[in-house]
């Protein structure tokens, strides 16, 4: 692994990452930009570690929404994005538009206008609609209230890279409290 986690912070648990998960723009940029992988920038370290651990399983697919690709390329131009089997660009298409209309009607977007900028609502809604339309099990984003709220609207799991720093009990260890009162 390129980055180092702070002492006492459990590593990202690979088993906690869904097989098909959409990565939000902020996570993707931090995963690629090495200046964020410093000991005083835990979010940057989280994103990089998530990216490496998630891609360590060949069957896993990380989805990147078309609006995120636009955001990623907002800065001065790069070359064409790599086409790799495990990183799947997903489009905002006719079906995604139908999904967006179904799960987040205009009334919901209007109700959030006071709290968030219109652009933020639009971009985040487009990204979560892409996740839903392309059958992602979860959206991995940073602790963003609007994104969390939208994921709830779309009935799709919301995760931050830090949420995945979980130590599971060893296999076969009974979960606390589950056996009481049985038999």
């Amino acid at each position: 692994m390129t980055s180092e986690t702070a002492a006492g912070v459990p590593p990202i648990n690979e088993q906690m990452i869904p097989e098909r998960v959409l990565v939000d723009t902020g996570v993707m940029i931090r995963a690629l930009e090495s200046s964020h992988w410093t000991p005083d920038n835990q979010r940057g370290l989280d994103c990089r570690e998530f990216w490496e651990v998630a891609l360590s399983r060949r069957s896993r697919r990380l989805l990147v929404a078309a609006p995120s690709i636009t955001e990623l390329l907002l800065k001065p131009p790069g070359t064409d994005l790599p086409r790799h089997r495990q990183v799947e660009p997903v489009s905002f298409d006719f079906v995604a538009a139908q999904v967006l209309a179904r799960y987040v009607p205009q009334a919901v977007i209007q109700s959030k206008k006071g709290s968030f900028t219109k652009d933020a609502i639009r971009y985040d809604a487009l990204i979560v609609a892409c996740a839903k339309r392309h059958n992602a099990s979860a959206v991995v984003s940073l602790d963003n209230l609007l994104m969390r709220d939208l994921c709830e609207q779309f009935q799709i799991a919301f995760l931050t890279p830090a949420d995945l720093r979980v130590t599971l009990p060893p296999t076969g260890t009974p979960m606390q409290g589950t056996l009481s009162g049985m038999g």
């Binding site: 940029i29 690629l32 930009e33 891609l55 907002l74 001065p76 790599p82 139908q98 933020a120």
Partner: protein
């Protein structure tokens, strides 16, 4: 009823469809549905083939090999339910006609997608269950050397389901069979549901037949998909995609078929003009492949993206407030 007329799913031996058959019979019995059948009966039905091909490459099905094929094949169940259906109140001929028309159509889709010299569709009956109108069997694409062809019958059933919902989109070679399947399913009483289960996937055949011509929407799309099949006299490429509810087949040019063939069972990025059902779940019912790009399956994805980011000049270097730069701060 003679053993000949009790062939699987009511197939007549005089039909071209039923080119070879193997039976293992014991005591005859009459099912409650009035269908004479034989327990432990095994009957095979192959897809239509050219007579010359049949003689030169496809011999009669070997009795000894059939159980092995059946064991590895995809489960196939045709069932009818709904309303107050009981085995004594239904006309077995209608059910068999609908079943046969469905299987005929499936066989014609198989022949369209898998060249006839590569494999034949083999259907066996394992059981005609008493007490219900349910035909259980197996379906497989078996090569001439006896091994199974990797293309799943289920994916063919996906295509048939699509075309039963929009027969005008079916290629001309299979449209008559698909239309017959639709008509036969429509002849069933309106309260009856005709369902097929192929390889564990459920298909609402009567619902598909009654849905009429589904309105479609044409759109140009890009999609990550896996190549299942590429080729045919009318060049087509069959894909599945995690984003789609069913596998789908697109018309193509020979050049794109060749590119797709190099990525068989691998992922590709495609651009296509697709026709989607205008009703949820908006499945792809047809379309034309316009572009295809292979994707990297060999290199480490982290290194690949790191290299791209560096070559691109690390565009986000020095930006500390990323969300602010994106205009996405809460």
């Amino acid at each position: 009823m003679s053993s000949s007329s009790s062939s699987s799913f009511g197939v007549s031996r005089s039909r071209a469809m039923c080119s070879s058959a193997t039976r293992r019979t014991s005591a005859s019995r009459t099912s409650p549905a009035g269908v004479c059948c034989r327990s432990q009966q095994r009957v095979t039905m192959s897809s239509p083939r050219h007579p010359d091909v049949e003689r030169s490459t496809l011999g009669p099905i070997d009795r000894g090999r059939l159980p092995g094929v059946a064991a590895d094949a995809e489960a196939l169940i045709l069932s009818f339910d709904g309303g107050d259906i009981t085995p004594t109140t239904v006309d077995a001929r209608r059910l068999l006609a609908a079943s046969l028309a469905y299987l005929d159509a499936l066989a014609s889709v198989v022949q369209l997608i898998v060249p006839m010299h590569e494999a034949e569709l083999v259907l066996t009956v394992e059981d005609i269950a008493p007490g219900s109108v349910k035909y259980k069997g197996r379906a497989a694409l078996r090569r001439t050397d006896g091994t199974l062809h990797p293309v799943a019958i289920r994916s063919m059933s996906d295509t048939l389901d699509t075309w039963m919902r929009a027969t005008s989109l079916a290629p001309r070679a299979v449209r008559p069979k698909v239309s017959q399947a639709v008509q036969a399913a429509r002849q069933l009483p309106s309260w009856m549901n005709f369902n097929a289960s192929v390889g564990g996937h459920e298909y609402e055949v009567s619902e598909a037949a009654r849905s009429g011509e589904v309105p479609t929407i044409r759109s140009t799309e890009s999609l990550r998909a896996r190549v299942l099949r590429a080729g045919g006299i009318d060049p087509r490429v069959q894909f599945d995609a995690a984003s789609e509810v069913r596998s789908f087949s697109l018309a193509s040019t020979p050049e794109l078929v060749i590119i797709a063939g190099r990525s068989l069972y691998g992922d590709v990025d495609i651009e296509a003009t697709v026709l989607r059902s205008a009703r949820a779940p908006f499945q792809i019912v047809g379309g034309t492949l316009t572009h295809i790009d292979p994707v990297d399956e060999q290199h480490d994805p982290v290194e690949t993206w790191d290299r791209w980011y560096k070559v691109s000049g690390s565009p986000w270097a020095g930006v500390t407030d990323i969300e602010g730069e994106l205009g996405r701060n809460d």
